[in-house]
């Protein structure tokens, strides 16, 4: 990781306990990265299209492995928690 990134992280999240960061600051950092994230979203969407993952309605299982993995409660879906 670059030195700038290291400094930034240590500024907003002290080692070793990172749990005290409030939700607002996390959301604010995501908002602050909006422009860079937009480019990443576009690339990810193009990549999904090339992987034929955009055809979510197609449940034949030929290509859409990702959809299967992330919608079943296994170790693939690590967000199996209530909101």
């Amino acid at each position: 990781m670059s030195e700038t990134a290291s400094r930034r992280l240590s500024h907003h999240a002290q080692e070793p306990d990172l749990g005290g960061v409030d939700a607002g600051s996390v959301a604010e950092r995501v908002q602050a990265a909006r422009s860079g994230l937009a480019a990443l979203f576009q690339e990810a969407e193009r990549a999904r299209w090339h992987r034929a993952e955009a055809t979510a309605a197609d449940d034949t299982g030929t290509v859409c492995a990702w959809n299967h993995f992330e919608n079943i409660p296994t170790f693939y879906n690590w967000n199996n928690r209530p909101r």
């Binding site: 070793p16 690339e43 409660p73």
Partner: protein, 284 residues
């Protein structure tokens, strides 16, 4: 099916194809990173893993992969991603090694190392995003939801009990990793036995298992104290127990390694203005 692939031959691969089974391989990258994957006799299993993967490829069986990273270090993420591109998997999940069950190896890594690992992985993936990378997809999904104002809708509304049925019929809920272990305070962690009680009845009485309400209290503590709850949903039961000895703690090393620093690594990558460049593979 999740497998280390060591027993896969052409007959098995044909069986998987015939029955349209989804196969995922456990392999930790190139040979040098697979020291922890050994046969019962202690000999390295890597060559057998490769032979199993070759059988899948020979028979046209598409597969996913799960990779455990023991010690995040600079350069490792890019090396691993290149490896899995060559391996030919469609989907990849990266697990930072967890202190769990019989594995008591320390997982308290430096923040910069772990954050840098994830940031480097994003950069590697952007150069050639052929693989569906589970962690990146999840991080982007959450970030997009934050920007759309729908972050509260990312996590499922209800916790899934995820029952694990043991060889003897015993049922352990929420964390399969607890199956087979016992504790003076919590017993064997089981919530019943399907040889004596129908599974729906066991699930309906989940809260009678003493550690389950303690875990749910822990989830609520995460919700009220951790800024990353919307992304993570609370520390997993097994990570709480094996790291902290109880279920109502909050931030675990696993939370830091695989949730908090994943999200921060993606954000660091983006803020550093990194963009996809020509892949070293392409240049070569």
């Amino acid at each position: 099916m999740q497998t280390n692939a060591t027993l896969i031959d052409d007959a098995w691969a044909e069986f998987f194809a015939t029955h349209n089974m989804r196969v995922s391989i456990s392999v930790d990258g190139p040979r040098a990173h697979n020291a922890a994957r050994v046969a019962r006799c202690g000999s390295p299993s890597y060559d057998r893993v490769v032979r199993g993967v070759e059988a899948l490829r020979r028979n046209g069986v598409r597969f996913s992969a799960l990779c455990v990273v023991s010690r995040p270090a600079p350069g490792l993420a890019a090396e691993l991603y290149e490896y899995f591109l060559d391996l030919g998997c469609d989907v990849l999940g990266i697990n930072i090694e967890e202190k769990e069950g019989v594995n008591t190896r320390d997982n308290d890594h430096r923040v910069a190392r772990v954050c840098g690992f994830w940031a480097e992985l994003v950069a590697a993936w952007r150069r050639d995003p052929r693989i569906h990378l589970r962690e990146i997809e999840w991080a982007l999904r959450y970030a997009a939801a934050v920007l759309d104002g729908t972050a509260d809708e990312v996590l499922p509304r209800h916790i899934d009990p995820t029952p694990t049925v043991g060889y003897d019929g015993s049922v352990v809920l929420l964390s399969p990793e607890l199956a087979g272990f016992s504790d003076p305070r919590y017993g064997d962690f089981s919530s019943g036995n399907v040889l004596r009680t129908p599974l729906p009845d066991i699930l309906s009485r989940a809260l009678d298992t003493p550690w389950v309400p303690e875990f749910l209290a822990g989830v609520e503590s995460c919700r009220t104290s951790c800024g990353y709850f919307g992304f993570c949903g609370g520390a997993h039961a097994a990570n709480r127990y094996f790291e902290q000895g109880r279920f109502d703690g909050t931030v675990t090393n696993h939370c830091r390694n695989s949730k908090i620093l994943l999200l921060e690594g993606v954000l660091d990558h983006v803020r550093d203005g990194e963009s996809p460049t020509v892949s070293p593979r392409t240049r070569a």
